[in-house]
């Protein structure tokens, strides 16, 4: 649809949440918990951390939570009765106050879970989620969205995007049908905006540090460059922090939790950084050492996904670097990959 531009008063912002809630919409928004910012259900605007640079974890949990039940089962004398979770059951939900990289992060997830066989559980939740993103007035040295085709005001993936244009006023971009539908709940609070507003004036300045296409090319060509991967990952300790805070990481694992009578099947996040990720029952592990797991992480986002799903699996949010206990800085490592001289066959 043709995008619409509106103006909303900061002072009216609380009303939005109130109305969403009164209409029975659960609202997920970033809130502060000591040093971390989590995305959780909120009842009102107070303690929603709009000033936060980024939430510690990405917003992917809205459609792909860390733990999600997919199946109930009970043991009979001779058989097992199963009841799968019905995706239709999930409620219309509003994801409020997240950043453009969160919104656009769903591109990758949509692509992955949209592959046949389609993952209805994810797709339904995503379909029933309306995203109101807030563009970024600030950025830090870990941000590199502009290098991977995004930006502080990137509207891709958002249904509505808010941009603070003065102490009092917020520029509201209505980007999708879903967004428009939601906006009807507060049309009375909106006034038309001048079409010539230059949004970029109000956005953080994020420098482009590498050319994504050459990074993709060179990553693809570097599969056998063992030295490179080893060098970059020598200090990697093989935890899953990077994957778990990443907006595009979609790997998961199934676990049954049961007693002698009944149980549930759960879908849980998993990470290619774990040594057990590819461990076979035989004891053989195709990715025996950490450098191979690091390679997998980069190759998956910058070679396999572009090749097979036509998206780059990275939004440049820099969460992985911020979360990394040993300061593996993906921006730095990608720049290095991009800047190496390799023969592209």
């Amino acid at each position: 649809m043709e995008k619409e531009l509106k103006i909303l008063k900061y002072t009216d912002l609380p009303k939005l949440i109130e109305r969403f809630r009164s209409q029975g919409y659960p609202v997920l928004a970033p809130i502060r918990k000591d040093k971390v910012v989590e995305i959780e259900l909120v009842e009102s605007l107070e303690n929603v951390a709009l000033d936060a640079l980024l939430s510690t974890q990405s917003a992917k949990k809205a459609a792909f939570p860390k733990v999600e039940k997919v199946l109930d089962f009970t043991f009979g004398k001779a058989d097992v009765k199963q009841t799968a979770v019905n995706p239709e059951e999930c409620k219309e939900t509003i994801l409020f106050g997240v950043r453009p990289c969160d919104a656009s992060g769903f591109k990758s997830l949509d692509a992955i879970f949209g592959e046949t066989p389609k993952d209805e559980l994810y797709l339904k939740k995503k379909e029933k989620t309306t995203i109101i993103s807030f563009s970024c007035p600030i950025a830090d040295e870990y941000c590199f969205c502009t290098s991977v085709g995004g930006g502080p005001g990137n509207t891709a993936g958002s249904d509505l995007q808010f941009t603070g244009i003065s102490k009092e006023e917020i520029l509201v971009e209505i980007l999708t049908e879903k967004g428009a539908k939601l906006a009807t709940m507060f049309t009375d609070l909106l006034i038309d905006a001048k079409s010539d507003i230059d949004k970029s004036k109000f956005l953080a300045d994020v420098k482009v540090v590498f050319d994504v296409n050459s990074v993709v090319e060179k990553t693809t060509a570097s599969f056998n460059n063992t030295a490179l991967w080893l060098e970059q990952s020598l200090r990697c300790i093989g935890c899953g922090a990077c994957a778990f805070v990443c907006p595009t990481c979609a790997c998961f694992d199934f676990q049954d939790e049961q007693n002698t009578k009944k149980g549930v099947r759960l879908r849980l996040w998993d990470s290619c950084g774990f040594s057990l990720f590819t461990l076979h029952t035989s004891g053989h592990n195709p990715r025996e050492v950490q450098s191979q797991r690091w390679r997998q992480r980069i190759m998956h986002k910058f070679a396999y996904m572009p090749e097979q799903l036509h998206v780059v699996g990275c939004e440049g949010c820099g969460r992985c670097s911020r979360a990394c206990p040993v300061d593996m800085n993906i921006k730095e490592h990608l720049t290095e990959i991009g800047s190496q001289i390799v023969l592209i066959a």
């Binding site: 040093k35 989590e38 870990y142 200090r235 778990f244 676990q255 996040w269």
Partner: protein, 267 residues
């Protein structure tokens, strides 16, 4: 050129060691571990007050070991880690060369366990006062308040296992969490899975934790995990007279006993 760089350059050029695990400048105001293999690389080594990470965990990393004879910049925690790992047969005497940063920016060279033990005897290995305050504060709470406190903390946990990966004592190839016959610890990071995991880990570190705090530092969700293991240090010391990571041939507090060990709860 700093003493550190001089020393490491020397050690590398005369092949005393093949690789030196030290610190270099990292992103923003952070520092990071670096693995110096040539005298040329030694130039980027730094050491200052911000260099507190316990690097000893890297001593057991397969790909690091393969680089050859190891040298390491070892603070007190790292030295204790080396002692504890030695007592658990993970490091042999003479296998590792440790450079210990003295207050006057000079560096003491430790090449054998005995000298490390001798040094540690004269050193304060206690936990930081602010950490003790936090523990005291928690101990002052009612049981239910503490339960609420930890529930709130564990809710944040995403089971990324950064704590485990960062801990020099968590070197098991197959952690109890990864055992599924039976599934002792739920893999899911729901309240129960998280509680089980953290209690199990704390218990497995009881009497082994060298209070380096890497677990808490590593946690992306900022959970004060170190408190769990720290608060066991005192009772273990007071009741059993044992402190982890002080002697290379120490007997683990929980695999020995005294016939007259004191307790007040068994009827």
């Amino acid at each position: 050129m700093s003493d550190l760089i001089k020393k490491v350059t020397q050690l590398l050029s005369d092949k005393t060691i093949d690789v030196f695990i030290g610190y270099e400048k990292g992103s923003a105001d952070r520092i990071r571990a670096t693995f110096t293999r040539t005298p040329e690389q030694a130039g980027k080594l730094i050491f200052d007050a911000s260099c507190t990470q316990n690097l000893a965990g890297f001593l057991l990393k397969h790909e690091v070991k393969k680089l050859g004879k190891l040298g390491i910049l070892a603070n007190v925690s790292a030295l204790r880690s080396i002692m504890q790992l030695a007592s658990e047969f993970q490091i042999k005497d003479g296998e590792v060369l440790a450079l210990f940063p003295n207050a006057d920016n000079s560096f003491t060279e430790f090449t054998d366990f005995h000298s490390i033990e001798a040094y540690l005897e004269t050193t304060d290995v206690g936990i930081k006062s602010e950490e003790q305050e936090m523990i005291t504060r928690l101990e002052a709470m009612t049981v239910l308040e503490r339960w609420a406190f930890w529930n709130k903390e564990f809710e944040k946990c995403i089971k990324c296992y950064a704590c485990r990966a960062a801990c020099p004592m968590c070197y098991c190839h197959r952690c109890t969490t990864d055992v599924n016959q039976p599934q002792w610890i739920p893999v899911a990071s729901h309240e129960l899975g998280n509680l089980d995991y953290h209690l199990m880990r704390a218990m497995h570190l009881a009497g082994r934790c060298v209070n380096c705090g890497e677990c808490a530092n590593a946690c992306p969700m900022d959970i004060p995990l170190n408190l769990l293991t720290y608060q066991l240090i005192k009772p273990i010391h007071d009741t059993f007279g044992a402190t982890a990571g002080m002697k290379a041939d120490a007997v683990y507090a929980l695999s020995t006993y005294k016939p007259d060990d004191k307790e007040n709860f068994i009827i």
